[in-house]
Symmetry: C2
Subunit: 180 residues, 2 copies
């Protein structure tokens, strides 16, 4: 198993669709079905993203989620922390204080400052977090956008609009009527 | 739970004792008891360190483990990889290829190159690994050594020697005889 969970992967992919959708809200179910991923899994991620101020929920039949701020302001680090909960790289158990020779009374020299091992891990964690902080939804979306054909953008817009309209009772049917 | 397990923490602490022990082997049981940590836990870590060429096992009643090479050559990264098994930061599931609109036939433009999200994670992982690679057992031990009193070094040496001698049948008893 990797250090970061599949929730982070799904969350980032969903958010990239919201970058493209702009002000049009997308439901977590639509986002899941559009990407072929578990709807119940995605449904658990969005309340975390909402709590972190990354998305806002729009109520109503045509409701869903949209980004709460410009994608330039949503770093990958922010998304990872929102989903994983600021999980540390290393959880120091203060092993240095437990030496049998201390007989449960570790001397001050043994426990002062940060443990040397923990210090290395904090530096490694900072290096990782600094890198995650330099990338945003906007910068990742920019990397994707140059290779996505305009026809696909239109297809996705049609798909999401149709899904939204079908959620409203009494509107046009799921598939257009055939010509007479 | 942190990203790195307690096995990495225990492993690094044990290895630092081996730096101080030099050519004198220490058993995994002695290392565990000296540090007040689970002997069965430590016993599982050492075969991994041995397989990675970080320690060598010395057979016999006074056997145990010693470092397989100078502590300058044993980076924190090497120890982490030996114990965790080169666990990636992020395990890309290629979500981009599953879009419902592709109908199980993702086009080449959608799957060429590395996924943008995966690319960010690979950079963050590299930053973390590069930092872990710059620290060695020797550099961590140097940070500890200036604060350890000489009397403690002697106490530890006496404790480990007594433990080793007590493992040999017919040698002096665990505690010295009281004077007559």
């Amino acid at each position: 198993m990797a250090h970061l969970t599949v929730s982070v992967e799904y969350g980032l992919h969903c958010l990239l669709w919201l970058v493209d959708a702009g002000d049009t809200p997308l439901s977590s179910r639509d986002l899941a079905e559009l990407q072929g991923i578990s709807p119940s899994f995605v449904a658990k991620i969005f309340p975390k993203l909402e709590k972190a101020g990354i998305v806002v929920a729009c109520e109503g039949v045509r409701g869903g989620y949209r980004l709460a701020c410009p994608p330039e302001q949503i770093s990958v680090l922010r998304v990872v922390d929102a989903i994983e909960g600021e999980k540390p790289l290393f959880d120091c158990q203060e092993v240095r204080s437990r030496c049998a020779l201390f007989e449960d009374k570790p001397p001050q020299w043994a426990t002062s400052g940060t443990c040397g091992i923990h210090g290395v891990m904090l530096k490694a964690e900072k290096a990782m977090r600094d890198e995650l902080a330099t990338h945003s939804l906007a910068s990742i979306a920019a990397g994707f956008s140059h290779k996505i054909p305009e026809t696909f953008v239109v297809e996705v817009r049609d798909w999401t609009q149709l899904r939204a309209e079908n959620r409203k009772p009494g509107r046009r049917p799921k598939t257009p009527e055939p010509p007479p």
